[in-house]
């Protein structure tokens, strides 16, 4: 049985346009496919990944056009629904950015920051990205 890992993801929108995804969420999805057991907590600027309906236009340079620009909300939905990775979002970080609970994708769970230490205790590994 795999060790349970809690992944606190704080770095956000770092190279998502070039990679067409977030490299950490991608890594966790790939590891889950290899048998890992992950949970994700989005905090800091990364809470924005759970906002529904987001997306930037693909990059265009002359005749070169990006056709698969990232959709981070869809990637998080994929984590929750397809990969069965629980995704928590820190409530205070949402509030600090003026993001309402109704702005989030379905399936994202709210977590008060004071509850985070208690959640950590349930995991064998805690990784802060």
């Amino acid at each position: 049985m795999a060790k349970k890992t809690l992944n606190i993801v704080e770095s956000a929108y770092r190279a998502v346009m070039e990679e067409q995804d977030d490299t950490i969420l991608w890594l966790l999805a790939a590891m889950q496919g290899a048998g890992a057991e992950h949970t994700v907590v989005l905090r800091g600027n990364a809470v924005n990944y759970a906002v529904a309906g987001q997306g930037a236009p693909g990059l265009t340079v002359g005749e070169w056009k990006q056709s698969q620009a990232p959709r981070m909300d869809k990637d998080v939905i994929d984590l929750i629904e397809t990969r069965k990775i629980p995704v928590y979002v820190i409530e205070e970080d949402l509030a600090a950015r003026g993001i309402g609970k109704n702005d989030l994708i379905p399936g994202a769970k709210l977590l008060g920051s004071k509850m985070l230490p208690k959640l950590m205790a349930d995991y064998q590994i805690v990784s802060h990205w």
Binding site: M17, E18, D21, A30, G62, E63
Partner: protein, 136 residues
């Protein structure tokens, strides 16, 4: 609109930040207007035009090579050179020589060249404006 000479100093390596997407959006806009563009690709940015970059499929996305259409910065640099020429402008893209050597990325696409910090000095002296997009 008068044509300007613009110098850009880039520092971020490919696939590490959003800075390069911002840089390429600005470069595209400048090239479409036919401005003369100088680029000094410093530190990690010296790998932007590296010829051995290869796009990949993405099993996590469930997409094959064609469907993923993964970006490579060398293609973006090449497209910029073509665009500038079509628009009546030009791009002088300089890859910092010591930077490419220490990274093993000294093979860069045609139309870019090897250079040194002296090129950034020359560019700056001859430019209407200089924009540094530094790594953080």
């Amino acid at each position: 609109m008068s044509k300007k000479t613009l110098t850009f100093a880039l520092m971020d390596p490919p696939y590490e930040s959003e800075n390069l997407t911002t840089a390429f959006r600005i470069l595209d806009a400048a090239a479409r207007r036919g401005h003369t563009i100088n680029v000094f690709a410093y530190e990690g940015a010296s790998a932007l035009a590296f010829t051995k970059q290869v796009p990949h499929a993405n099993p996590v996305h469930g997409k094959n090579l064609a469907e993923e259409n993964h970006p490579t910065t060398k293609d973006q640099v090449a497209a910029l050179l073509v665009l500038a020429e079509k628009s009546g402008g030009k791009v002088d893209w300089v890859n910092c020589g010591m930077c490419v050597d220490e990274r093993g990325v000294a093979e860069f696409i045609a139309g870019t060249r090897r250079g040194s910090p002296a090129d950034l000095h020359t560019f700056s002296e001859a430019s209407d404006n200089v924009l540094v997009i530094p790594t953080k």
